[in-house]
Amino acid sequence: MSCDFSGTLLHAYLDGELDAMRAAEFERHLETCRECTATLGVAESLRSSLQRAQLYETAPVTLRKKIRAELKLSAAGASRSPVAAWRWLAAAAAILLVTGVAWYAIPRFHGMSSESASSVTSAEVIDAHIRSLQAGHLTDVASTDQHTVKPWFDGKLDFIPPVHDFMDEGFPLIGGRLDVLGERNVAALVYGRRKHFINVFVWPTKEPDTPIHPPGSRQGYQWVHWRHQGMEFCAVSDVSAQDLHELAQLFIQ
């Protein structure tokens, strides 16, 4: 009766910690799993309660003053005796030991091994998209000419992203930008679609090609993900999922 995901993956999804592909996979799972749908509803409700309740407690002003004064003394004064240092280190080691023993191992899950800690999450992709829409951030090089945009990346990244204009297909190239996703530099290609903007994030990968992954959505934004010829792509926008899929196909052709 109990779905394995409701106690694990679901929370990573709720917290925006899944990469785009796994988030989309989980959304497909949600469509058929009543338990996960219910659990997610409860977890979201709990989160908004926590946010509404304003439980955050800020430090009293007096504390800040006290610490400043102590720092002044400490910086001016002599160093402490090494004996005290060792006592503290021993205590710290003891705590680590106790913590390590008490905190028993909990089932690992494949969706988020430490290796994928460096991969990109859906929340990051959407944040990057939203950031880019704020004034003056959309493009570093504004040009509809792929022969201007592509060389612009040369020397700024350790790879050269594929750049094409799809004006005739209804996706005019607007420009390019450097961005950061999951702590690595990526190329962002900006396309127009009627009055909307699409960010296509590109970075190199050693993984094999994958087909265009069914769209995921979050906060009203959609994204699709695919890998093609050593590059990983994530297109994100508020346009329809179908439009994104169409653009993705143009990249693969």
Partner: protein, 188 residues
Amino acid sequence: MSSTGHAKGWDVLDSQDRARFEQLVLPHLDAAFNLSRWLLRSRSDAEDVAQEALLRAFRFFRGFNGGDARAWLLQIVRNTCYTWLEKNRQVELMTEFDEDLHQQSAANPETLAIAGDNRERLARALETLPVRFREVIILRELEGCSYKEIASITSVPIGTVMSALARARQRLQRALTQPAQQEAPHEL
């Protein structure tokens, strides 16, 4: 904790270090206080412990490698809190993992919303959670830390952060919808 175990003892820090510390670390005093307050469930104890942690952080400051200052500080704060709990409320650290995993929560979003609308009740429910579950909720929901940051603050793998959060949320829901449950010992 960072690699500050010089055999010669504490680093001697000068006024330049202090200026850098005030610029990089002191802005996270609220985060330090908030975490202490919820781990210790007391404002006055939190004041003492947060102060101690900040001074400790200053003495270790040379070991700070310039990464995420908030996560670095919160790791020290957390360890200082645990030391304090061990000394003053050892029972709290012992009676932790008695949970019944098979007990299903009957919560639904509506009843939860009603229960959760009461700040006092929510705070009390949070305080009944074992400290290791409480800390992930505080770091995630109040401090807005990523799993990676929580993992580094609490020194556990990222997968463990996720399952701890899952169980912490489940427990919190239960505490909110079944208010009659016994409370953890508050004062000894």
